[in-house]
């Protein structure tokens, strides 16, 4: 592999991560927030796989696989919570669910 290219992969992952973070911070629809979290998961996975290629070591792949599994679990739970909130309110806005106030 082109030696400079790995840095490119990791930098790309950083950019996708940052875009996901921006979405998480500025969007108010819980569905979109959840999708942005998926973006950030995937950015992390890209790093793992890039490094696995660099080291010739499969452990990065294993870790990515576990991340994918956990992400699936997280989406399932997250969507369930969204459905629950939708049942109680007519419109859902992340800022409306502010009952954690101290």
């Amino acid at each position: 592999m082109n030696p400079g290219l790995l840095e490119g992969y990791v930098a790309l992952s950083a950019i996708i991560f940052a875009v996901g973070a921006v979405g998480l911070l500025i969007r108010r629809s819980p569905l979109v927030v959840l999708m942005c979290i998926e973006l950030m998961w995937n950015a992390a996975n890209l790093t793992f796989i890039a490094y696995a290629r660099q080291w010739g070591n499969m452990e990065g792949h294993i870790l990515s696989f576990i991340v994918i599994t956990v992400a699936a679990a997280e989406v399932a739970i997250g969507l369930a919570i969204i459905v629950l909130i939708f049942r109680r309110r007519s419109e859902v806005d992340v800022d409306e669910a502010a009952m954690l106030r101290g």
């Binding site: 911070l25 800022d95 502010a98 954690l100 101290g102």
Partner: protein, 599 residues
Amino acid sequence: MESTTLVWIMLLPLLGSAIIGVGRKGLSRNAAGWLGSLVVAVSFVLTLQAMGQLPATGVPLRQSLFVWGQSLPFELHVGLMADALTLWWLLVVTGVGFLIHVYSIGYMADDKGFARFFAELNYFIFSMALLVLADNFVGLLVGWANVGFASFLLIGFWTEKAEARAAANKALLINIAGESAMVVALALMVREFGSLAYAEIFSQASGATPGIVTAISLLLLVGIVTKSAQLPLHTWLPDAMQGPTPVSALIHAATMVTAGVYLVIRAFPLFSASPVAMQTVAVIGALSALFGAIVATRQFDIKRVLAYSTMSQLGYMLMGAGVGAYAASAFHFFTHAFFKALLFLGAGMISHHLSGEQDIRKMGGLGRQLPFVYWTFLAGVLAISGAPGFAGFFSKEEILAAALHEGHVGLWLIGVVTAGLTAYYMARLFILIFGGEASETESNHVHRGRGGVMGFPVAVLAVASTLSGLIAIPGITQVPGTYLAPVFARFGHEAVHVDSFGFPVILVLGMAAIGFIVGLKLFGPSGQGRARAQRSLQRRLGGPVANAFYLDDLYVWGAASIGRWAKVGALRVQSGFVRRYALTFFAGFAAFVFYFLLL
């Protein structure tokens, strides 16, 4: 030398606590009380046996238990260790502990939490035994925290009393603050010595970085100050008197509060490697001695007088340890345990007689009604005042003489003034309770018939308060000094000791005599003190002395202000908006990336 006895000394009270605690519904009162007393008595006998096993060379008895923390950069071999110092403490803990258990059978007879009381008392004895038997700082800290928790349980024993609950919380909070400092000290020890075992740390102490040793000692001192109720963190001790009187006698006078003194003596290689720390210990001790004595002169609750007096006497012990007179300090602990427990138990009998009254302004003329209490209490008063021949005389004089011998004239002077004040407030306490006319408070005869079970421990303690000083008459007997000498010799030290008190003893005695006579005159039949004191019943006492120099109010105010301020701040941060939380999170994340990857 291996010895399983040590394990039993510690485990028997725990076993008793478990049995009484679990079976408290099924056990009869007598069974719970006597079982609780019995296990402590057996521990006492085993302690005596261990004293017999202890080789004259001073090599400690050991019992290794298990290896803790194998994943840490070092291994900690947890075990029990008993040298002369440990056994010295255990002797008092189990001995006085047994007497107070027996006393409690009578004192608590009508309490609905009778069995719970004994379970908690036994748990305390176990924790205290663990504290002194540990052969490493982790074990010490575990015991230290457990005695604190036992103290919390017992101060708040009467859970229906709001004051008792508040006092228990206060004691626990202040003690945990001290423990936190000790945890930091332990972390520093790991860093500096790579170990937490006494033997390894103490043998390296003199060669360690002076700054670190000072830091460790001062951090330990924070814990010591909280546990032994020294300035400025003493405020929990007077409030702790909300607990039942046997608890005040055992935990908050005779044993637990002396854990701080024990730690100074146990960790003497650390402290003596740091002149700053030693100086601080001595000065804090002397100031606390004076402070406690001053405040005690204007208290009217019998137990509060005794509480401040405990603070004052603990100050003497720390002062002694701070000037290097470890054996004298341990000796004063020994005698103090007897006479202070005696005074508290006497106070318990008095307030029992007066249906729970504790205000000495409402007492008087009890000498004729309670002759037994009168004579035993007198023994305690004379012992604490340092009357020649009584126990307190020898131990106190030894500390003062050692301070003077080491050239600490200022500390010595403070000690002398304190001795005078001590005699004064004890005389005042005694004459207000027993002298004068019988007051209108109705005596309560319900408790007659249990006199034996309460009287026996008091009688034993009275004899001990009178005679136990004779084991260290300068130039004649030297029991504490010679017995404890191997503890210090192991690490190449020798405790400061004096062969004779010399002429300054006259000065101390003179001060005490003046204080005693002034107290008797002022509050006796011819003095104005009693009348004036009784007039003050109507109003809240003013003045800095009666209010312990407002330190407590200052802390309450400070804590409340910080709490209010923190609440305002926390409410602003805790907005409930998840996106704001996420923003904060990312800001922190950016800061971490900046710090670790770019700087």
